[in-house]
Symmetry: C2
Subunit: 241 residues, 2 copies
């Protein structure tokens, strides 16, 4: 079930806030990407890298276990994690165990614990609140149904030089592309595209030196095919239109 | 500034949840109403009275004091409070002091304390999170701008038999009508209307024996005029179209 979730709240250690316009895309086959750009970057460091975080993975990187009506465990082993890539100190490494509870309102509460100081040290509890939005519309329209149906396309690259994943869900596209063996923001690229009702495509996030290597044309492809974009070959690992 | 806020989260004593589809309407002149219908009433009592709460007031019932950039105190002395009307035990009486903080994401965090066991007893902290939505659209569309501009109409009744307030903000109407000297749900009426893009008006909430006394036609009126609806006379106290 392709879905697009907008984060409404991020609470760490009892302090709720939301400084980003975070969207998490999940494809029909269960591949996923979450981009968390800051709405109002303020420091010089934030202006240079205006993201709280980003992560992505294929369906091999997540295990979903239904627990009870409206409750599921989701265990993540990210393929890409911006904090790991940038080697940010005091951030979590390894599997993240979370619990997702759908409220009667339709919002989904995610709770979990991360271990920024190591698995043997004290953990930090967090809560995130997700609002399902309609991926097939070009505005952020609140919906009770996290299953957006419709278009679900995924591109992947994993060669000697690059790793990358691009997920198209309805009118919303999100992608990352990272240069292997780099550990600085110079090696990171992020993309968020929005197809307007008119058909015009708008780039809401278009970050990084290699951003021109992202696929931006999704017509007439098929699963198992590949596309070359300015010298980079992406594999189409999912294609439902 | 007319606004329409959708509640996303209600947290009491550290337990976040959201069982309602709560909308709070504020008119251009600062009159307000908040209706909190349950999404999935489950018990017999909930099915009979499917509301968590409802309150309303004119701009004489609220004091707003800017505190700093994006932060304001709001002190409520409700004109109508469903808990007071129904004499629900262990619920707050008198002024409620709250703090409203606008996050960078555009959501607004409300925090405060209520005193369900009396002002001299221990208080209970709460937090509510509000998502501004576009009152001029017939879907719940996330917006960063809490000021919806456009239509703002308010009807009031306060006679020997009834108290009531109806607020139209954009395409959304909310109202209450209570029978004086009643203290049971038999005396309560609530209305939530939505004008679809087609012009057709849909009743999302239409509750109570006297609901047919609510005004439902808002054309060609003016401030200071009055309208009769099935024997009840409402005063138009605000009219901007």
């Amino acid at each position: 079930m392709p879905s697009l979730l907008k984060r409404i709240l991020f609470e760490v250690a009892g302090h709720p806030n939301e400084r980003t316009l975070t969207l998490s895309s999940a494809s029909n086959d269960g591949h996923f990407i979450s981009l968390r750009p800051l709405v109002k970057p303020s420091t010089e460091a934030e202006k240079k890298f205006p993201f709280e975080w980003a992560f992505a993975g294929t369906n091999a990187n997540i295990k979903i276990t239904p627990k009870s009506e409206g409750v599921a465990a989701q265990d993540f082993n990210f393929w890409f994690d911006a904090n790991v890539y940038l080697n940010v100190p005091n951030t979590h490494r390894g599997e993240v165990n979370t619990t997702w509870t759908t409220w009667e309102s339709g919002c989904i509460q995610e709770t979990g614990k991360v271990f920024p100081f190591g698995k043997d040290k004290e953990g930090v509890s967090f809560m995130e609140l997700w609002q399902p939005v309609d991926a097939n519309r070009d505005e952020l329209i609140i919906t009770n149904d996290a299953n957006s149906k419709g278009k679900s396309i995924v591109f992947k690259v994993d060669n000697a030089e690059y790793e990358g994943l691009v997920i198209v869900v309805g009118k919303w596209t999100q992608g990352f592309l990272s240069k292997k063996n780099g550990n600085s923001i110079e090696g990171l690229n992020f993309l968020r595209l929005l197809e307007r009702e008119s058909g015009k495509v708008e780039a809401l996030v278009d970050y990084g030196k290699d951003a021109q290597k992202f696929p931006r044309d999704f017509a007439n492809l098929k699963k198992g095919s590949s596309v070359d974009v300015n010298g980079l070959t992406w594999e189409v690992i999912e294609y439902t239109v």
